[in-house]
């Protein structure tokens, strides 16, 4: 008996090729590829071809766990980068990262350090990747800048408003290059949507929407003391770093959740405004032409938070009502149109005409373009897309939202004086003392 399978020329994919929806998308991509905002790096900066050792950017990695391993691998792909050292307070992570670096270069030269200060003291290192837990980000970035290093730092970059301002001030004063690990700033679909908003193609912009996930604040935990491991295995004092003291407990060793986002969102809450907001609120800041300011009002409203910029543009943080485009969605609405995009790389808009020239789809939020932008700026001394100033304000927007959630009421914020006018309670939550000896 003959197979009853369908004839190959009637396969599902074949019959789907004329779907009008896909057709319109292909139409939108055709023709005007070059109109895409510039994301791809400039080849003139010496990336192409072999790079002599004297022209390479010598780098170190600090705090290389899960996310750090990915970003480190992106740096390792770049021909004008030479990673020479790893610092981590956990021995297993130090060794795993070293092996990754050594495997890339076919030697065993990568040095390891328990204390990041030893790595930062090396004069041959030009730049560092900081991928510790969020607890360390601002302090480690400050130490690196003071040591004359340029910094690519994972997000969230700060724990509160005061740290955000300090980060921006430090990188101004030291003239070092800083790039926050908010790689969606360097992805074509987000850049395209932002350009629609910023160039008036949606009409006058009135609302930007972000999905920070988990509009709640919870402080990191304190667990019963356990016998600490040998300091060479886990240096608990260095792990705690700037976080207020608590006894060793292995449950707190997930740096990803420890002292995250405002110092309030932690082991038991996860997420919080900072975790995703440092991406999606940051994109809204960009779309609203608010890279050097933050919303002036924040109001919790059920499962949403409404904020407003001085320009009148509204920022809505919400978890519901999104098109199925993947994680980290943003939506920008103007008087004549809207656009929405997210991590699968697709872009939906109120009119197909808006999508003409959107360029190739890149989903999965890779960090390649963002890392390249950082490396180019290390050479040119220009400001990367997610520089310290940009990161400062997008983080302040998230921290202020966190404070409004904690206080459970509407707040006003003055982005010139950097205070909540006449609100002593909210003002006290702008910063938090760091454990000795650390400072920003």
């Amino acid at each position: 008996m003959k197979s009853k399978s369908l004839p190959p020329n009637f396969s599902r994919s074949e019959t789907s090729r004329l779907s009008r929806r896909a057709f319109l998308r292909s139409t939108a991509r055709a023709g005007a590829v070059l109109a895409l905002p510039q994301i791809l790096p400039a080849a003139v900066l010496g990336r192409a071809g072999a790079v002599p050792p004297s022209e390479r950017i010598v780098m170190g990695g600090i705090g290389i766990g899960g996310r750090g391993s990915y970003v480190l691998s992106v740096f390792l792909q770049e021909p004008d980068v030479q990673v020479v050292a790893i610092a981590d307070v956990q021995a297993a992570r130090r060794q795993a990262a070293k092996q990754r670096v050594d495997a890339r270069y076919g030697n065993s030269d990568c040095a390891t350090y328990r204390d990041l200060r030893e790595l930062l003291a090396r004069p041959d290192i030009d730049a560092v990747l900081i991928a510790t837990g969020p607890n360390w980000h601002a302090v480690a970035s400050t130490l690196a800048a003071e040591a004359g290093k340029d910094v690519y730092c994972e997000k969230p970059c700060t724990k509160n408003i005061a740290e955000s301002l300090a980060l921006a001030e430090t990188f101004r004063r030291t003239a070092r290059v800083f790039q926050a690990g908010t790689q969606r700033r360097s992805l074509p679909n987000f850049a395209f949507a932002v350009e629609l908003a910023r160039t008036g193609r949606l009409g006058k912009l009135h609302t930007v929407h972000a999905q920070p996930l988990g509009l709640k604040t919870v402080m990191s935990g304190w667990y019963p003391a356990e016998p600490p491991p040998p300091v060479e295995e886990v240096d608990w004092d260095l792990y705690l770093g700037p976080a207020a003291w608590r006894p060793f407990n292995r449950k707190l060793l997930s740096a990803f959740h420890f002292e995250k986002g405002g110092g309030f969102v932690g082991a038991l809450g996860g997420g919080g405004v900072l975790e995703w907001g440092s991406h999606c609120v940051d994109l809204c800041q960009w779309a609203a032409d608010a890279d050097h300011t933050a919303p002036v009002e924040y109001e919790p409203a059920g499962n949403r938070l409404h904020a407003r910029y001085a320009s009148g543009v509204k920022l809505v943080m919400r978890d519901d009502g999104w098109l199925p485009l993947g994680s980290c969605p943003v939506r920008f609405e103007g008087e004549t149109g809207w656009v929405e995009t997210a991590d699968n790389g697709d872009i939906e808009a109120s009119s197909p005409d808006l999508l003409v020239g959107r360029g190739a789809k890149i989903g999965g939020y890779p960090a390649d373009f963002h890392v390249r932008n950082f490396l180019d700026c290390v050479k040119t001394r220009g400001q990367p897309r997610a520089n310290a100033e940009v990161a400062c304000w997008s983080h302040i927007a998230c921290h202020a939202a966190n404070i409004a959630l904690l206080l459970g009421r509407k707040l006003r914020y003055d982005p010139v004086k950097n205070e909540f006018p006449g609100d002593a309670e909210a003002n006290r939550l702008r910063g938090e003392a760091l454990r000795e000896p650390w400072r920003v």
Partner: protein, 652 residues
Amino acid sequence: MKTFPAFLYRVALGLTLLGGAPNLRLLPAAELPPERALIAVLQSPADPADKALACRQLAIRGTRNAVPVLAPLLADTNLASWARIALEAIPDPAADAALREAAGKLQGRLLVGVLNSLGRRRDPQGVPVLTARLRDADPEVAGAAAVALGHIGNEAAAAALKARLADAPEALDAALGEGCVRAADQLRAAGRTAAALELYEAARAARLPLQQRLEATRGAILARQADGLPLLLEQLRAEDKPAFALGLRVARELPCVAVTEGLIRALDQLPPARQPLLLRALADRPDAAVLPAVLQAARVGAPELRRTAVELLEHCGDATCVPVLLEAATAADRDLARTARTSLARLRAAGVDAALTDQLDRARGAQRAVLLELCGQRRITSALPMVEPALQDPDPAVRRAALQAVSVLGGEAQVTELARLYMETRDEARRAELEGALLEVSGRVGARVVARLLPLVRHTEPAVRITGVHALAGVGGAQALEAVVAATRDPVEAVQDEAVRALSTWPNNWPEDVAVAEPLLTLMKSGAKRAHQVLGFRGYLQYLQADKRLDDPARVERIRELLPRLQWPEEKQAAISALGALRTAAALDLLQTLAPDAAVTEEVWSALVNLVGRDLPGVSPERRREVLREVISRTRNESLRRRAQQALEAIR
């Protein structure tokens, strides 16, 4: 002072238990305990965790009353950091006094913490104790004092820091340099330029680490404003890379047109490798003087400088740059040409579109092709009357560029023209290009263009009729549907096949496309070929899932009606899969009747697990359990069995 039993502390603080461990949970502010209760916790023998949380909450609730209770904790190795969280936040001067007092008593790291807090609070009364600590034997303490003085940044702090530059030990250099620059930056921001400059220059002259000297140099340039140009140029001309790098950064920061002009004059004097980097810095300056310099480099610069200039014009250029960019866009240097085209496509300034279209009639050859491409890329709709004639230009490159532009810009009228050209041409490659443009324009414009496409499906040549079917499928609507249904009866089999394919993916615009249901059912029942029947069935299933007028029970009923006609396992599997997604008891009933068919049994089991694995309206938990037990006992798929088992355990 009243004390509370331990369990009451937890109640008062709102502590919750998790796995026997206190969870440090900062409550909504409205629920925070009163200051009195928090102070009581600190005065009690409570656990360190409770005291830590009390400190954190005093940061919000605390007043001067809490300071005497917090101050002793500054000497507690474990709780000092928590106490400072409160003391740094309490605005009352009593907190400053407590920190100053501790600064005179403590040693080592605890002292460092206190000095850091004095700096964060910018307590001017802290200057004397910090000045004294600048000479502490412990370099960490002295360093913390230096940075704290930098944060305070008044004249007294600056004087103390400057004095220490003369005799500081090497271990203090980095922190002392940081303190000096921080203090000088604050003086500069406060308008005390002379004092700031004095400190910057003292730091530059001192034996400080390179980074801190660079920071001082930056400050010294910025403090001088336009008069800082010579010092800036000194950095840009320095042989060492760090100074040059600093110069590139400060060249972006230092305002004033005279500075811009000075930097432009310096451009030619730099080594060729440095010129593109300075040009990039110049392009970041907002002065009008920048553009002529970049344009000049784009015209006559050395190759790398020229490429950089052409790239930069995208951001700093205007309509006057169009001729220079157009010339570069057709240059023999491919990198330069590509960069120029990119800049032209993205150049946002006013008047650029007009400058490009002005050139369109005069341009010839490669430049004309570039201009046509740009009309599309920049969406210059007003250029369509000039673009359309180029569709028949004798130069193939120009024709292709025109077609690309029409694809983006075209409307109803261009559909007619594209269809006409398509029907006229015999060149296969040309036909493929025209077909692509036709599909793009007609798909974008929509049902309004159906009448303009009908000549294609009535053409004598089958290949043209197929293209017509494709175009109509992209347009949709009742009239297009009618034409494509007619094409399923075309005398040529290939045309029939394409028409059937188009119908099978038709339902994609709601609600106007629901009419496709009947033709699909007809195809399924009486299609000319078995493959047509299968495609009709698949298309119908797709329609069923998408038609928003139907509820799930109605969809189940439609599938039930189809089942007797399904012969191939693939068809039945598709129907079963569709049923598994319909969350209604009717789908469950129907699926269970299909299980005995050995050809699809496993698919039925899988769909059943999907269906009853979570709550199903109108179906009791007991029935869900029965279904899952049956799957567990009868499936041969281990993975599915595990999934069913997990689903069974999850039903409460």
